[in-house]
């Protein structure tokens, strides 16, 4: 939100004007990039007794306005705490995001008076309606560090191999080569190919929800036992590079402490949800065709 200097029909605590004396409002935002996420750690600073009372009494709250012009993303985060954290999905953000902190009236506040208003407002009270702006902090921008979006078929660290057995057997996973090889029976291989090569995003998500996620989980558990054994493998270096892009040092200490289930879900961007969505989409299409 591009807040340019303008006059409001009521006093606003803001560096750009002199509506208030001996008062201050601002917000420090620390932005870190996680796996497919942007994490915003907010710390609000408010120096004004009556405004703090409004927040304490539930009549006002801190709001961070978040906007990404290039992807037409616009949203707000609300809190009555001095510190708060929010995670944004990276798929909604590109290039630059603009952040603007506010103190906003949660409900109508009639006849409000503040002892730190400019002397010009002596003897006057103001009505603030719900959504009214009590304070504005410094507008911040943040450049989202992203490689050019990968639009093509994703280079995979996995390959699906075919066992020379037709009937279903337990999947075999091999980690020693450049790619992680997931070997399945011939019958299962044909089904997987049908899902991925000739299907669509819904079928790909379902297929990945079964095979790839299972294999990735197995890999993480293997690395917990044998981290250094795979450092020369291309798949290992690919995961390491991807984590580095997200400011994560992929080392033994990290692997020892990480929750494998959580990590796989972050790396694959909530695969269970995607697989269920894919199933639902196919069921809905099936119902429509009837």
């Amino acid at each position: 939100m591009d807040i340019e200097y303008k006059l409001y029909p009521y006093p606003v605590l803001w560096e750009a004007n002199d509506d208030y004396k001996n008062s201050k409002f601002d917000c420090k935002v620390n932005v870190t990039q996680g796996i497919r996420r942007l994490i915003l750690d907010m710390e609000f600073t408010l120096i004004n007794k009556e405004m703090k009372e409004l927040i304490k009494n539930g009549k006002a709250e801190f709001v961070l306005h978040i906007e990404c012009p290039v992807t037409s993303y616009r949203n707000i985060v609300k809190t009555d705490l001095n510190t708060s954290t929010v995670e944004l999905e990276a798929k909604n953000l590109k290039d630059t995001i603009a952040l603007c902190p506010f103190v906003i009236a949660k409900e109508d506040i009639p006849s409000w008076v503040n002892s730190n208003w400019n002397d010009d407002y002596d003897g006057i009270s103001f009505d603030y309606e719900k959504g009214g702006i009590l304070a504005i902090g410094e507008r911040l921008t943040f450049d989202v560090e992203k490689e050019a979006e990968e639009l093509g078929t994703l280079p995979s660290i996995f390959t699906i191999g075919k066992l020379s057995i037709m009937e279903p057997v337990p999947v075999k996973i091999e980690y020693g080569g450049d790619k992680i090889v997931i070997s399945v029976s011939e019958g299962d291989y044909e089904k997987y190919e049908a899902f991925t090569r000739y299907g669509n995003i819904d079928t790909i998500n379902i297929a990945n929800g079964t095979l790839i996620n299972f294999a990735l989980l197995s890999v993480i558990y293997e690395l917990k036992i044998n981290f250094t054994a795979y450092e020369d493998c291309r798949w290992f270096r690919a995961i390491k590079a991807m984590m580095k892009k997200n400011d994560i040092e992929f080392d033994q200490q990290y692997i020892e402490n990480v929750n494998p289930v959580e990590l796989v879900q972050q790396l694959m961007d909530n695969p269970i949800s995607k697989a269920l969505e894919g199933t639902k989409a196919i069921m809905m299409n099936g119902v429509d065709e009837e």
Partner: protein
């Protein structure tokens, strides 16, 4: 259906050479793109396959009813590409790829290109991002369809694209006016405005172009005194509807 996006270096090349190739944009097919790219770079293919297939779709051409055509195509394109993320949909390579490949004929017809009106600026506006990153999302012939669908989509409705009907009468003009204001980036605000229009029209009142613009101006002014994003959708609808009837007392 497989889709193709244009490779980065191919995009740079063709965009820089629109003037040199403008006569080719009215050819019957897009084979010239491959020929010219090969001549210039030695590479066979200026396109690359998009990461996943989509359901088959075909965009409509209704020369006698442009508004209906655009509305139908919003539904067709957005529903076919509903899994596109906003960052993918903001990528010029994607839309330039479709414009020069799977949707070449559509964009050609939509831009109403003839040998008498072939200008670089017209080609740039329809086939490329010609007006800046943000604005191009609603001026490029294809991107506009997806982004309008994305911004008006309301999954709580049996017809999630219902809001598009309000924009039909002068689709290009209305879309430009409506989505030029940043507040429409918040889907809640967009839905509130469209639902307000719908509610008013359900009372038998036909909203004129001037009334449409006046409501958007009102929302803009309202955004100058409160944080629009803070209100609920219902509160916004109430404010907008009350304002409409306040300034249009004669239509009650």
């Amino acid at each position: 259906m497989k889709l193709h996006f244009m490779k980065e270096n191919a995009l740079v090349f063709f965009k820089a050479n629109i003037e040199n190739y403008k006569s080719k944009y009215i050819k019957d097919d897009n084979s010239w793109i491959y020929e010219e790219y090969k001549k210039a770079t030695g590479e066979d293919d200026p396109f690359e396959e998009f990461k996943y297939n989509v359901n088959d779709f075909k965009l409509k051409i209704l020369p006698d009813d442009q508004g209906q055509e655009d509305c139908d195509n919003v539904r067709i394109l957005h529903s076919s590409l509903k899994n596109l993320t906003p960052t993918e949909a903001a990528d010029e390579r994607f839309w330039v790829g479709l414009s020069h490949n799977e949707c070449f004929k559509y964009v050609q017809l939509r831009a109403k290109l003839t040998d008498k009106n072939l200008t670089s600026s017209k080609i740039k506006r329809h086939f490329y991002f010609g007006t800046g990153k943000r604005r191009s999302l609603i001026t490029n012939s294809l991107a506009r369809l997806w982004w309008v669908g994305h911004l008006i989509y309301d999954e709580s409705k049996s017809d999630p694209y219902e809001g598009i009907e309000v924009l039909k009468s002068d689709f290009t003009g209305n879309v430009l006016t409506f989505f030029s204001s940043n507040y429409t980036n918040n889907p809640k605000i967009t839905r509130a405005i469209l639902k307000s229009f719908d509610g008013i029209e359900k009372r038998g009142i036909k909203i004129s172009r001037e009334q449409f613009r006046e409501i958007l101006r009102y929302v803009n002014i309202l955004g100058g005194i409160i944080l629009l994003d803070y209100l609920t959708e219902e509160e916004l609808i109430e404010r907008i509807t009350n304002h409409f009837f306040e300034v249009n007392k004669d239509v009650i």
